[in-house]
Structures are given as structure tokens and as C-alpha cells.
């Protein structure tokens, strides 16, 4: 292509650019929430309850008079935090376990059986069950969402390790005296970076959705902290009277997850991952 790199990129990956732009917008609005015409998201003002979106309350108010606009913007922080943390943590743990089991054969047999078993349980049920055992907090939600995601990453990493191990370059490295950790770090890991990044974005998107599901079912972030799932859960009883309580946080969540998925798709095409 003879065009400048920036123009070429936009033309080649329009959806990814849209996704990045949308994501950036949501990131900015959540982080800069205090400066964007918001009030305290937890302040109750019963006199203004259940008002339609209007000049004073851009997204309306809920049954306690809380401003939905502020709650939505602040709620974004939780969702983004959970999404990114779950993505990074499951990648890190999955890589660790995957690399180790790629080389330690006896350990691998047990670990992979456990991973198969974990994968046989539908992720949300596992997350729900874990939340039933842990107290409601953002940290525990992250833990409950990371555990179901680890097996898939482990599988991917281990498969790559097993196939890359047999290649000639590894043999050559051994001949030069490289120890296993060095081989893992310098030869095998770099080959995994691209597919892992793509997988990470999908895990992030899925985690944001699952956090909302958990909160909606009452097993997620504690009610004092506004998260998109929480806000929608509280708006359940008002579907007919005050649909805006559910509409706006859900729209934000859908847009964010869509953006992350588009970025993931774009990365997959860009990095030529299958």
C-alpha cells in the first residue's frame, strides 16, 4: 500500500478503529466521571424519584431518587476494572500453568484432568457457586470469574508448548546449553503472545458480561457499589414505569462489550491469528 500508515490502518480495519474509539470514549467518561456533570452516585433524594430523562437528570432517576447518569458513569469503572483484571489474571495464571504442564508430564496428567472437569461446568454456574461461598465484593467477583477462564488458556498454552517443543530451534537451543526456563521464556512464550492477546480481549468482554449477570442475579458486586449489573437489577421492578433505569446501563454495557469484541476481532486479523 502506498498510503500513509494511519490512513491505511483506518481503511483496512474500520471496525477495529470504531471499537477502539468507542472503548476510549467509555474509558474517558468513567475515569473522568467526577468532572462530567455528575453527582454522588449513591446519594438518595426520594423527592426526585422515578423521573424521566430530562434536563436536570439526563438519564432519569431511580426509585430512590439517585441520578442514573452518574450511576452509569461511575458504574463503568467497576465493569472496566473487572474486565481488565479478569483478563490479565486469567492470562497470567493460564500461561503459568500451561507452560509448566507443557514440560512436567506427570503433573500434566492430573492438572489437565482437573482442567477438563472445570471446563465441563458451565462458566456461569461455576462463578455463581464460587460467589455463594465468598462474600460479595469486587475482589471476590474477580476471583470467581477468573477460575472458569483459566482452563481454556491453559489448554491453548499447553498445546502450543507441546507442538513448539519438537521444533528444531528448541533442539538447537538445548545444544547450546539453554535450560528449560530459558527455552520457555525466550522461545515458546513469544510465539504465544499474539493468540494470547486476542484470547485476553475476548475474556475481558466475557468477564464484563458475566459480572453484570452475577450482579443482576444478586451474587455479584455488593449493592452499595454501583455497577451496571447492580443498577439494572434494581431497576427490574420498574420495567413498565421507569424503563430508563435498565436502558442506559445496559446500553453502555452492550456498547463496551461490543467495542472490546471488535477490538479482539481486529487484533485477530491484524496479528494473523486463526
Amino acid at each position: 500500500m502506498s498510503e500513509a500508515p494511519q490512513r491505511g490502518f483506518l481503511r483496512r480495519q474500520p471496525t477495529m478503529v470504531v471499537g477502539l474509539a468507542c472503548l476510549g470514549l467509555i474509558l474517558v467518561t468513567s475515569l473522568a466521571a467526577p468532572y462530567l456533570h455528575t453527582v454522588d452516585p449513591t446519594s438518595l433524594r426520594p423527592i426526585t424519584r422515578l423521573q424521566e430523562p430530562a434536563r436536570e437528570f439526563w438519564f432519569g432517576t431511580d426509585q430512590y431518587g439517585r441520578d442514573i447518569y452518574s450511576r452509569t458513569l461511575y458504574g463503568g469503572r467497576i465493569s472496566l476494572l473487572v474486565g481488565v483484571t479478569v483478563g490479565l489474571a486469567s492470562l497470567a495464571l493460564g500461561i503459568l500453568i500451561g507452560l509448566v504442564t507443557g514440560y512436567a508430564r506427570r503433573l500434566a496428567a492430573i492438572v489437565m484432568r482437573v482442567m477438563d472437569g472445570l471446563m465441563a461446568i458451565p462458566a456461569i454456574l461455576l462463578a455463581l457457586a464460587l460467589m455463594a461461598l465468598l462474600k460479595a465484593s469486587v475482589r471476590n467477583v474477580i476471583i470467581a470469574l477468573v477460575i472458569p477462564e483459566i482452563p481454556r488458556v491453559v489448554r491453548m498454552v499447553r498445546a502450543s508448548v507441546l507442538s513448539l517443543r519438537e521444533q528444531t530451534m528448541i533442539e538447537a537451543a538445548r545444544a547450546l546449553g539453554a535450560e528449560t526456563p530459558r527455552i520457555l521464556g525466550c522461545y515458546i512464550l513469544p510465539a504465544l503472545v499474539a493468540p494470547l492477546i486476542v484470547q485476553g480481549t475476548y475474556i475481558c468482554a466475557s468477564a464484563m458480561l458475566f459480572e453484570a449477570y452475577l450482579s443482576f442475579l444478586g451474587a455479584g458486586t455488593p449493592p452499595e457499589i454501583p455497577s451496571w449489573g447492580n443498577i439494572m437489577a434494581e431497576g427490574r421492578a420498574y420495567v413498565q414505569r421507569a424503563f430508563w433505569i435498565i436502558l442506559f446501563p445496559g446500553a453502555f454495557l452492550a456498547a463496551t462489550v461490543l467495542a472490546v469484541n471488535l477490538v479482539g476481532d481486529g487484533l485477530r486479523d491484524l496479528l494473523k491469528v486463526k
Partner: protein
């Protein structure tokens, strides 16, 4: 054929074993005393001690595991702490709506998504392809319950055409049965459809580039015959895989959808059990649902042999 099937079934036993062990360990390996967890925050030390002896939690861990496992194999999944009913009874009561919902959603999804995916691959790059793909990604990104509420608002509140919630068993009339299930099934299927359409398109694109497809067109076969008779069959393997694997997402979605539409199914049972910390029910449901999931994937594996004659186990 039979030894093949038996061998595949044998392979699932260790997996189910791990599932059972995980389910058992969930209660015992997390921080805190299980008896205290079950008793709740307001229990006295006497209550906790009584629960401990009644549930046999004072025996060594391996003994407990053994007892629990032998019970499960005999079909006894324990007793609900909240209602005192056997877990198997509770599950049997609720299984109808969930099965109906899930099956309907699966049928709708596959029936709509596969043709759409084929169409998108056939007309790659056109506006149809783009629309279908964008709709897929969007459908996949939307929270299930938000979509559900949107549909409820449009169809039940605004148009008044369909009931807002509730479930009518098939025995009381198929028309009401369908009316109550249409919105939940549509909600659930949109997510599943997105997955299947994407995978169908990707797989078809791979197949349509093959030489034998070009030959088929060159021979003058009508497009429909080439697409459906030759290409789809070759492309079906990943699609069938994703139908099996995506079933887990379907179950997760069903849990949430039942909550939205107040369907008295297993999803509701689980959510109620989670909120009430009713561990025997949670364990029982996870065991059964995982078992169904494993079984479904086993069926998918068996289907491979029919779809691709080159596969031999």
C-alpha cells in the same frame, strides 16, 4: 460402531469424576468452616455443632467424599437445607421449563443462524455479509437480561401482544405454552445465533475456497446444491462443535433468562439456592447440568463420525 461408542463413554467418566470432586470440594476447600457457612451468620455455636453432626461434617474429609460419592451414584443428591425436600425431587419439578426453553432456543438458533452464516459466506464482502456479521457481534455482546427486558418492553408493554412473564406447561395447551416461551426463547437464541452464524460463516469461507467447490460450480451445478449439498457438509464440523460447546453459554443464559421472565426452571432454582446458601441444591444442580453438557458433547463427538467419514477413533 458399538465399541467406539463405548470407548467414548468410558472417556467421559474421569471428566465426570473430576466434576463431582470439584463440586464436593467447592464446599470444603474454600476458607471458612462449612458448617458455619451452611448455618449462616446468625447461628449459635449449638446450631453449628448440630449441623456438623447431622451432615456428617465431623468425619474425615475422605470419608465424607466417599459417602457423598456413593450417595450420588445411588441417585441421592442430598436434601435441600431450605425446603427439606430431596434435591432430585426439586430438580425433577423444575426441569420442564428449562428443557423447553433451551430446546426451543437451540432449534430457533440453529434453524436461523446456519442459513444466515452460509448466506454471509456466499456473499462475502457484500452488504448482506456485513449486516449479518455486525448483527452477530452485537447480539453476542448484549447482556441477555437487557435484551430480554427490551423485548418485554416492546412486545408486552408497548404492543401488549405477549405475556410479560410466567410459564404454562405444554399439557395445558400448546398455544399458551408457546406464547409464554416465545420471548424468553427469542432472547436466549439471539446470543446463541450470533455464535453459530459467525462460526458457520468462517467455516464456509474456508470450504468455499477449496478446489472441489470450484469444480462443482464449473460442472454447472446450481448454487444451492453446491452450497448445501457439498460445502455445508464439509464445513459442518466446526459448526457442530460450536453448537456443543456453546451449550454452556446457553445454560448460563437460561439461568438469567428464567430470572427475567419468572420461569420456574432449574436456573431459578439455582439462583434461589445461591442466595439462600443451599449447598446441597447447588451441588446437585451443577452435577446434573455438567453431566448433560458432557453428554451433549459426547453426542457431538459421535456426530463427527457421520459427518466426516475420514474420522476414526
Amino acid at each position: 460402531m458399538l465399541p467406539l461408542v463405548l470407548r467414548r463413554i468410558m472417556a467421559t467418566i474421569p471428566v465426570m469424576g473430576v466434576v463431582a470432586l470439584t463440586v464436593f470440594a467447592l464446599l470444603h476447600l474454600t476458607p471458612g468452616d462449612p458448617a458455619q457457612l451452611i448455618a449462616g451468620d446468625y447461628a449459635t455455636p449449638q446450631d453449628i455443632a448440630k449441623i456438623r453432626t447431622t451432615l456428617g461434617l465431623d468425619k474425615p474429609l475422605l470419608t465424607q467424599a466417599g459417602i457423598w460419592l456413593s450417595n450420588v451414584l445411588r441417585g441421592d443428591l442430598g436434601t435441600s437445607i431450605y425446603s427439606g425436600l430431596p434435591v432430585t425431587t426439586l430438580i425433577a419439578q423444575r426441569v420442564g421449563p428449562t428443557v423447553a426453553l433451551t430446546l426451543l432456543a437451540m432449534v430457533i438458533s440453529v434453524a436461523l443462524a446456519v442459513p444466515l452464516g452460509v448466506l454471509a459466506a456466499w456473499r462475502q464482502g457484500s452488504w448482506i455479509d456485513r449486516v449479518i456479521m455486525i448483527a452477530s457481534v452485537s447480539g453476542f455482546s448484549m447482556p441477555v437480561f437487557w435484551l430480554g427486558f427490551l423485548l418485554v418492553w416492546v412486545f408486552s408493554i408497548w404492543l401488549g401482544a405477549l405475556p410479560v412473564q410466567g410459564y404454562q406447561p405444554l399439557a395445558e395447551g400448546p398455544w399458551q405454552f408457546l406464547r409464554h416461551l416465545v420471548l424468553p426463547a427469542a432472547t436466549l437464541s439471539l446470543i446463541y445465533m450470533a455464535l453459530i452464524a459467525r462460526m458457520t460463516r468462517a467455516s464456509m469461507l474456508g470450504v468455499l475456497g477449496e478446489d472441489y467447490v470450484r469444480t462443482a460450480f464449473a460442472k454447472g451445478l446450481p448454487p444451492r446444491r453446491v452450497l448445501l449439498g457439498h460445502a455445508l457438509k464439509a464445513a459442518s464440523l466446526p459448526v457442530v462443535t460450536i453448537i456443543g460447546v456453546g451449550f454452556a453459554l446457553l445454560i448460563g443464559g437460561a439461568v438469567v433468562t428464567e430470572s427475567v421472565f419468572a420461569l420456574p426452571g432449574i436456573g431459578r432454582l439455582t439462583v434461589d439456592a445461591i442466595v439462600r446458601r443451599d449447598y446441597p441444591v447447588i451441588q446437585g444442580v451443577i452435577l446434573i447440568v455438567s453431566g448433560v453438557y458432557v453428554l451433549l458433547n459426547l453426542v457431538v463427538d459421535m456426530l463427527y463420525v457421520f459427518l466426516d467419514p475420514r474420522i476414526r477413533y
